[in-house]
Symmetry: C2
Subunit: 179 residues, 2 copies
Amino acid sequence: MKRIAFLLVAVAALAGVVASLALASRHADDQAAPIFGVTIPPGYRDWKLIAVAQLLVPGKADQLRAQFGNDIAIKAFKEGKVPFPDGAIIAAIHWTRVPSEGNNKVLAGPFPGAQSFVVGSGVNVQFMVKDSKKYAATGGWGFADFKDGKPGSKELHETCFPCHAPVKDRDFVFTRYAP
Amino acid sequence: MKRIAFLLVAVAALAGVVASLALASRHADDQAAPIFGVTIPPGYRDWKLIAVAQLLVPGKADQLRAQFGNDIAIKAFKEGKVPFPDGAIIAAIHWTRVPSEGNNKVLAGPFPGAQSFVVGSGVNVQFMVKDSKKYAATGGWGFADFKDGKPGSKELHETCFPCHAPVKDRDFVFTRYAP
């Protein structure tokens, strides 16, 4: 009887693990951005770097940023070719910018007045996915913005393409490949 | 006779190409940093990103920075393990930080007062190479600093380890892995 009770508990625990794994996986993979249906591409944090940048909007945003490309995007950047081919994906990670007191203390010796800033926490991640047919109405790009793994609102995603429109001559991509 | 002359010219041209290729390759690969003998590791620009940072030394430096790791270094960073294993290499690219007038113009609409900064030109690249036996006297790390592919002076390289010494508890590595 004890053995059956143990077995039942074990089965229940296992079912719980399976259910939460399924939920976690659904949470991470299945939440698509509105309008464009873009989901978070797996492994983007390990993609090759396109460039880094900084954005300061007084009182609103103080960020360090990095843009990454999948292999199709990186090849196009290196060749300097536009438009980007279908399948190209550009990822951008935005972090808070924070002063590093530790670094500043060390740097103060050799470099008086030095101010070191490092990344704090993640703010959001953004993606541009090239599919010239599917996204013909928005320059061939699907746009997506995620905070903590959750996509932003429809209203937010309606602002993506109009903002990128001015750089049509660079196929709607602001970022240039860093030397 | 014409054909032989053509052949001779072609051979001479080919020899010239081979010679300059050899020279170019020597220039890029063989210039080792003083003290540590570290050369520029091929392909580091395409390594995975560790983090990004900013350094401001008023009147001296205004930079955006990115740190990259080879696979051994990235694995150690992700596992949060110190000391780093032998074979780990960390690369840092430092660029000038420049305002992007183009981005600012676009951003001014939705984000009044926004200041966008992007990378300008490359300033220098630095490397830390882990070899606990070869570099036992400097925490197991060999250091190198290159400008335009040329290593800095012996005096410059003498400053590397003393500057990194304060972060001994992080195996002499300032950079933390960005989320």
